[in-house]
Amino acid sequence: MGAFLVRKAAVTEWIRSLAREQPLFFPQPVGRSGFRFQPLREGSEVRFDHYRPSVVPPGRQLTPAGEVLFRYRTGEGGVPGFESVLDASPRILAGVRPCDLRGIYLMDRVNREGRDDPHYLTRRANTAIIACDCLAPCDDFCFCETVGSLRWREGADLFLTSVDGDFLVEALTPLGESLLPGTGFARCEDVAGLRARAEEVRVRPFGRHFALSPERIAAILPGLWRSPVWENCGQRCLSCGSCNLVCPTCYCFDIQDDFDISDPSSGDRRRNWDGCLLPNFAEVAGGHNFRPQPSARQRHRVKRKFEYLVGRLAEGSFCVGCGRCGRQCTVGIDIFDIVSELVAVAEPPP
């Protein structure tokens, strides 16, 4: 695969030209402080170096809220017919940070576990990802290095690294290669040297760090089922589910039907984002709730990111360290703090 050293202005022009050919989602400032992945339009700013993580992670483009699973229509004799709806339209996600790339990679694993999810995988197969390295933590919430996301590259089709004001542009897949301009990018021979140069200037240590590795955290969590840490954060939690909605590896959903009010014999079935912090998430018909307290739901969230899915899919951590849940929490609950407290309880510093 090719690697190129390209001037920043040329990268900007290239991204703009890609956006003219198919929807290209790029993080853009909205409101006073947030960023959002939205289609790049003529005149939109293309900057790779100044954004905090988008409020909603880019991977959510692959499971849009309210996505239609199938349409139904009641035919002759009241027999319902069903038509699956798959979105195979091409799109590009550009400016994806390593933590979010890792999140998308983990969602690829989840949607291939057991039975393939055709809706996710069809959209994913038609999505090209242009990722971009981070040389400095986005803000004080970041802890991507400690959970193994900072140097993540798998899942990207093209990978951009800022080197002394220019960009090292690496094609990682044939799809990525096909998105490069025919001419104009100077081939780069010394990729290793340029990557070493970027590594040199990368901030160290990068963001916050746990005292233990993800593997050790997964190992201590089963013994902490009754830790007072859960109750402490449960008492503050408002069960709003914001942490779920902004997490790159939260994918739980609910399914609802929607009918055409002017023709109730037809309509569709959709899935919507759901969250395990919402009070009725584990409630069954008849009213029994298997996680009635916020503390039980917080415990479930943390164990899912650091223990359950980690074991199920043999991955280091399902938390990618983007810091979004802590940033968004209305009462300041930060998953980094919860895990740090648990680690301190299990293995107190000498």
């Binding site: 139904y72 069903f82 195979a88 038609n126 959903f253 039907d257 008849g286 029994h288």
Partner: protein
């Protein structure tokens, strides 16, 4: 049978102007797609529960203890236990309690109308675990519904099993399900003494009642039970399991000989939606039937 709307071709895979995108993945597109099933019978069993018999386009091929996702287009979808034993035809039986929007809607349907069915899903019971053993079934209320699929399979070839004991518990006599069928099982064992049925209610509610009064845990201590020969299967309300298991373990039954059929909220049935998790397990994929020694250590399994 199915009208025009079923199998359109997928929109052509996207081809980007600047390059060739990967075509649509080869996976089945039908993960969430129901098949249309015709309602043959709706029979009220109690004030709240009715038995639904539907006909599918082809046999479901289910195992006892499995479930389907049943839906009414425009209303919604819910996991429903299969209440009949394995069968060769395309008929499916379910018992549904009127409890929410979808089930209220279903109760209004009449024979000849249509529903959607996906499945079967879940682990179910493996009859291989029961052959040659004495069997003890303990059910509470609606737990009888999935358990019936297993008991029917057992009663189809009773000679392949040892003694069969069924303990069923109901709130009142008016809540009992399948009374005639349970009595027919009981008669099957008459003379040989191989089938014993203990029917209990919490409260007779001043109704005629020919069974006992009490909790399903109570008869266990006095059962003629050989723990080395016995396999138990449990299904009932969440509160039931812990106490029945205590009694069974007190009688020397190993957790590897106890099967529990657990209920959780499910939205997809295929291990994707996240609702039915029991710690790291998915009730819809790894369960809903679990061997007790495989879940007893999980704090969320039997709260």
């Amino acid at each position: 049978m199915i009208p025009n709307f079923t199998t359109p071709d997928v929109a052509a895979p996207g081809v980007a102007a600047s390059g060739v995108f990967v075509p649509e993945t080869a996976c089945s597109r039908e993960l969430y797609l129901p098949q249309a099933a015709r309602l043959l019978e709706v029979e009220a069993l109690t004030a709240r529960e009715s038995r639904f018999k539907v006909e599918l386009p082809r046999p479901l091929g289910h195992r006892p203890g499995q479930f389907v996702m049943l839906s009414a287009p425009g209303i919604g979808e819910a996991p429903i236990s299969i209440s009949c034993g394995p069968r060769d035809d395309a008929i499916l039986e379910m018992v549904i309690r009127r409890v929410g929007t979808l089930t209220r809607f279903l109760h209004e349907l009449e024979p000849g109308q249509w529903v959607g069915v996906r499945g079967p899903f879940g682990s179910g019971f493996d009859l291989g675990d029961f052959y040659g053993r004495d069997l003890l079934f303990v059910v509470g209320g609606l737990g009888m519904v999935p358990m019936r699929s297993l008991i029917q399979a057992v009663m189809a070839t009773p000679d392949r099993f040892g003694k069969v004991t069924l303990i069923s518990g109901w709130r009142t006599p008016a809540d009992e399900l399948f009374r005639a069928e349970v009595q027919s099982w009981s008669r099957l064992g008459e003379g040989s003494g191989r089938v014993r049925v203990i029917r209990l209610v919490d409260d007779t509610a001043k109704l005629p009642w020919d069974g006992g009064v009490g909790l399903v845990t109570e008869p266990i201590a006095d059962l003629d039970l050989d723990p080395e020969r016995t396999v138990a299967a449990l299904c009932g309300p969440p509160v039931m399991y812990k106490f029945v298991i205590l009694e069974l373990v007190a009688r020397g039954l190993a957790p590897s000989r106890i099967f529990v059929d657990l209920e959780r909220r499910m939205r997809c049935g295929v291990g994707k939606c996240g609702h039915c998790q029991i710690n790291h397990l998915y009730c819809c994929q790894d369960g809903p039937v679990f061997r007790l020694d495989r879940v007893a250590h999980l704090p969320e399994a039997l709260p």
